[in-house]
Symmetry: C2
Subunit: 386 residues, 2 copies
Amino acid sequence: MSVPTSAPPTASGPATDLSDVLGDPALDVVELVRRVCDIPSVSGDERALADAVEAALTALAGVEVTRDGDAVVARTTLGRSERVLLAGHLDTVPLTDPPNLPVRREQHPVDGDVLVGRGTCDMKGGVGVQLALARRVAAAGEDLARDVTFVFYDHEEVEAARNGLGRLARNHPELLAADFAVLLEPSSAVVEGGCNGTLRAEVTTTGKAAHSARPWRGHNAIHDAAPVLARLAAYAPREVDVEGLVFREALNAVLVSGGIAGNVIPDRCTVTVNYRFAPSLDAAGAEAHVREVFDGFTVEVTDVAEGARPGLHLPAAADFVARTGTTPLPKYGWTDVARFSALGVPAVNYGPGDNATAHADDERCRTVEVEQCLEVLSGWLLDGAR
Amino acid sequence: MSVPTSAPPTASGPATDLSDVLGDPALDVVELVRRVCDIPSVSGDERALADAVEAALTALAGVEVTRDGDAVVARTTLGRSERVLLAGHLDTVPLTDPPNLPVRREQHPVDGDVLVGRGTCDMKGGVGVQLALARRVAAAGEDLARDVTFVFYDHEEVEAARNGLGRLARNHPELLAADFAVLLEPSSAVVEGGCNGTLRAEVTTTGKAAHSARPWRGHNAIHDAAPVLARLAAYAPREVDVEGLVFREALNAVLVSGGIAGNVIPDRCTVTVNYRFAPSLDAAGAEAHVREVFDGFTVEVTDVAEGARPGLHLPAAADFVARTGTTPLPKYGWTDVARFSALGVPAVNYGPGDNATAHADDERCRTVEVEQCLEVLSGWLLDGAR
């Protein structure tokens, strides 16, 4: 079933349709990833990709498809006693100028065969794997031992309040019910446990506008921001052990803006900082730390999402880790494992792509990891299939 | 004569037409200034005001009106052996949010009766005085001892390359020919001699983008800007004596921008600085000073305009100063006296408004100065009228 949205479907064509490659009997998952990447989907502009994903999933027999905004959920409904869930976000950070799309497939001196371009790493490699898995799961049908849910969602790369998984949890909590979840965020095909939390705050200085030929009549807010940047430059991030995994923190300016015109003394300067904090700290603790660092300045927290403790001692997680044959690592980036954790669903990160290149202008993904994740997850999902 | 532009005239109405108040036999120059201010004309958006000024001047008999872009020139053509020129710019810096228009007329505890709002000081007080003078000059006609040129121009508050007076000098140099010029920039109705030069430069740091959860994979360009702001905050501006007037310099950040998104380590940060330099320094000397201050950083000069030496020993300037009965002061702000100076036309600043409030959110102009400038300039222009 497909729950239609109010918007008309995007005209299909080679650029925005995925059905041909997903329907191809000789499915090439790397080609599928490339096609997913080549439909731009910067946060807030995911509609074309969500339309293509919805259409491709609807074309598969054996899964129910639900659309909510630009999120798409596909589920088997076999009535099994156990359900596992795989999730990934459709959106990416902004393109570069000139745009780092379409994707190039090339040989990297260290990584070998790679896809290069926006989204290849974070995380359309995982989205492509999910789509390929959905086809195999749909084909297995009644043979599946467990029900399976695939979640594709919007607005992961922006403030937490707009997160599509959060919206799904509010609008359709029943669709996220599961016994265990895998989030296909880039982890180099290694299980990464837990995640750091993330907090964004605006550190603001205020001055008084005046003509820049007579600055002594005003007060320069940008000059006042000098110690804010100096404290950031001098900041020594902490490393925190949580359940045996060492989480590395970080505090950075991510944006700065100030000024009115080229001949006006600026009356306001805002430095937006991003604090990545270990899962041993809650939101209040993280805010207190940022306020301490910027003591004496106006600090407004605009966005905070707590991390998740690793939880790898839980049986479902331990079983999944064993199947991947990898040694778990801590997840430095905030991911929606924290949201599943808050919903009571144990979850781990496991997906293709080295997160070291996530958000970088030249982000890339080794094609071998795409294929490896597909096979590991496919074996896990189809395990015990009748 | 009016040289038509390609754009259709603005529909006339109470908000954008000045003809009624300029044509009123009992002309109230303060009301005229208020009306000029209430037609917003932020740099680049001067058309409505230029249309109104052109229409009001065209309605006067006795002056030839020429339009060039959003500049308007009105001239008597009596064939006198001497010509004087009065000039002022139509544009303003951006409005505040909420907008500091329409103008309010109120009693200020120190300044008395004032107009408050964008443009009242810089420099629509002067524009209103010019319009009122144009009416008197047009009415004097053949009785005038000297020919008179009124120049109203666009794009003064932005980079020098777009300055409307500069464009007029290129397109219609004959319209700017004069023996002496008065620029009605705000000077509290005191003659201000010469002007500081102005230079804008971008001081840029570059880093490497990466996900903000793993900043050790990138390099933070905003953090690198800390010493740029620290040098600005610590900078001690110079005071320079030029021909007996002491020019006070200034170096300020006017804009800062950096960052890509809330979860990306910024790969670029640009601090735009504005250096106001004494007229003893030329453009190359000013650039060398800025490069010295920001030694070690990438500095790109985007805009430079040299100042003007006072030149008050020249006979025409000395005669005008005597008529105003004021003691000349140095002009700290860059003004187009520098452009007239470069064209070989001796020029001074003399206009209503305390430039201490120019560009401030609450910029204002004492109404008594508007009336005083009108009478002083009127007496000067009509002196010797037959």
